[in-house]
């Protein structure tokens, strides 16, 4: 059995209740474009464009809420809160 974890595989293997409002953002005034967030995000939700990190607009559907991006952001440009109560990722098996 070959196990792969492509982006499509990961999406199939997760359950998310899309958040009703934004809860994660990049403060582009502080962002230095270092790309740390893009390295640790396993859902490829960050890209670097014109020297700044850009968060995918579909993050509310595909974020594990692991907070890796927040922890590795040296200039503290990532504002990580949480989705509203009852929304966001759901771990069915746990």
């Amino acid at each position: 059995m070959e196990i792969t974890l492509t982006l499509a595989d990961k999406k199939k293997l997760m359950t998310v209740e899309k958040a009703s409002k934004d809860w994660l953002r990049v403060n582009t005034d502080l962002c230095t474009g270092c790309g740390n967030c893009a390295i640790v995000c396993e859902m490829n939700l960050f890209s670097i464009r014109r020297g700044k990190a850009r968060l995918s607009p579909s993050y509310k559907e595909w974020c594990y809420e692991c907070g890796g991006c927040y922890l590795v952001c040296e200039p503290d440009a990532i504002e990580f809160n949480y989705p509203p109560g009852g929304e966001g990722v759901i771990f069915v098996y746990g």
Partner: protein
């Protein structure tokens, strides 16, 4: 405004134990959990060890429908790809002392559900699907919480068990975030498998596989299994960023060695869920874990132990302790930082704090040994050391009446011997490794023992 004696933020192992303990002491307790159901936000199937059953007697009656008692623990060491040659392989039979309260592999969701039921039975209230967004303050002291459902809730004390990313720690001004060099991010896959296949499985238990600096832990349940990819400390988020490389590619390599592939095939295992979650892995117990009117417990307090970074027992223990101190503080009419220092002091003296004795040396050993990952010498040395560690780990539970708990003290007790054996081993290793290893050998055989005798010893 609603008023409680104690508000607990987060309904995981730390929060539920805090709530249960406080309710049993007659406190009016509210648990606020952001998930719709208990366990919605918790991952990583877990191996609960005898020490939990020993120190939390109410768990001895736990009978989770899908939990499983493993027949054995298993360690596999593999050469790095492409060879994946198995270089070490051991099965430790469950020893007699462990049979009293055998280790169990549990789905976290089911396990935390059990803990939450115990808290509810004791009288704790739960409010679900509610995010705590801020703390309430009066004269600088924390006096409650604000939720996203519009409510302010007052309490004499807030116990925050809201995980590695703890919003409460931020709002309370205790820290902005943990140092990424102290946090690993763990990928994990849950597989489903037919019960008959699992019943036939010989290994059937807690399985560890290691390649270089990355490791994989496995728990096998009645109807499935869980494979978590644990980086050893050199694989923290900090080092991942320095390597400019994510963790999942390394994690997948852990599933490739033949024994693992064969096991998944025998079990007819099918992936059903994937997750990422952060885990603190510190070499010292954090100090900033309490302030006026608030205490942090579990991962929010950074208490997972420094050897394998297991954190469930630690969350439960710190949760219970925080609730005990909270009840005393309320009784004394003093919920100040000065009084709550009692929580820190007791935690430091408890089995949780004692596990950090020698944490720095454990960390140094990991860093040093795994720095040369892929080197045959390193792998051979690791297998030897891990065999000792494995022995030490079983040893701590044997006999069960031994109160100096848990694996770290036992592991540390072996270090002087390991240091001596390392000295014998030195002539065999490559010159590049010989220098740092001889330094380690001297440290192990020398001064460290003093600290242990005064701090951890009887």
């Amino acid at each position: 405004m609603q008023k409680y004696d104690i508000v607990v933020v987060g309904g995981g192992p730390g929060g539920t134990l805090a709530a249960k303990t406080a309710a049993e002491k007659g406190m009016k307790v509210l648990v606020i959990e952001r998930g719709k159901e208990i366990g919605d936000k918790i991952v990583s199937g877990a191996i609960v060890l005898p020490k939990m059953f020993r120190d939390f007697p109410f768990t001895r009656t736990m009978n989770l429908p899908r939990a499983r008692i493993p027949r054995a623990g298993y360690f596999g060491w593999f050469e790095p790809p492409p060879s994946y040659e198995t270089i070490y392989y051991t099965i430790s039979a469950t020893n007699p002392a462990q049979q009293e309260y055998p280790t169990q592999c549990v789905y976290m969701k089911e396990f935390v559900g059990f803990l939450a039921d115990a808290a509810k039975a004791a009288g704790a209230e739960f409010r679900m699907a509610t995010l705590v967004t801020d703390v309430l303050r009066k004269d600088g002291k924390i006096t409650g919480v604000v939720t996203d459902k519009g409510g302010e809730i007052q309490s004499d004390i807030v116990i925050a068990s809201d995980g590695v990313l703890s919003l409460m720690a931020r709002k309370a001004g205790l820290r902005k975030k943990w140092d990424p060099w102290g946090v690993v991010n763990i990928p994990s896959l849950t597989f489903s498998a037919p019960e008959e296949r699992i019943a036939e499985e010989e290994l059937g238990g807690g399985v560890w596989t290691v390649i270089g600096a990355v490791a994989n832990y496995c728990c096998i349940f009645k109807d499935g299994l869980h494979m978590g990819g644990a980086n050893f400390p050199p694989g923290t988020l900090g080092s991942r960023v320095e390597l400019r490389k994510g963790v999942v590619a390394d994690y997948l390599k852990l599933l490739e060695p033949k024994p693992i592939k064969d096991m998944l095939k025998r079990l007819e295992a099918k992936p059903v869920e994937f997750s990422m979650h952060p885990l603190t892995w510190f070499d010292e117990m954090p100090k900033e874990i309490y302030t006026d009117g608030l205490m942090l417990v579990g991962d929010a307090a950074g208490v997972p132990e420094p050897f394998l970074a297991s954190g469930i027992y630690e969350a439960m223990y710190s949760g219970r302790l925080a609730a005990e101190v909270a009840a005393e503080a309320i009784e004394n009419g003093d919920t100040s930082k000065g009084f709550l220092k009692l929580y820190y002091d007791r935690l430091e003296a408890s089995p949780v704090g004692q596990q950090f004795v020698g944490g720095k040396q454990v960390r140094a050993m990991f860093d040093l040994l795994l720095a040369g990952q892929g080197a045959r010498e390193t792998a051979e040395l690791m297998r030897f050391m891990m065999a000792l560690v494995w022995g030490a780990w079983s040893g701590t539970m044997y006999p069960a009446s031994v109160t100096v708990p848990l694996m770290i003290p036992a592991f540390m007790n072996h270090l002087p011997i390991m240091g001596k054996v390392l000295g014998l081993y030195l002539p065999l290793v490559s010159p590049a490794l010989a220098k740092p290893l001889s330094r380690l050998a001297n440290e192990l055989a020398g001064g460290m023992m003093k600290g242990l005798m005064t701090k951890g010893g009887e």
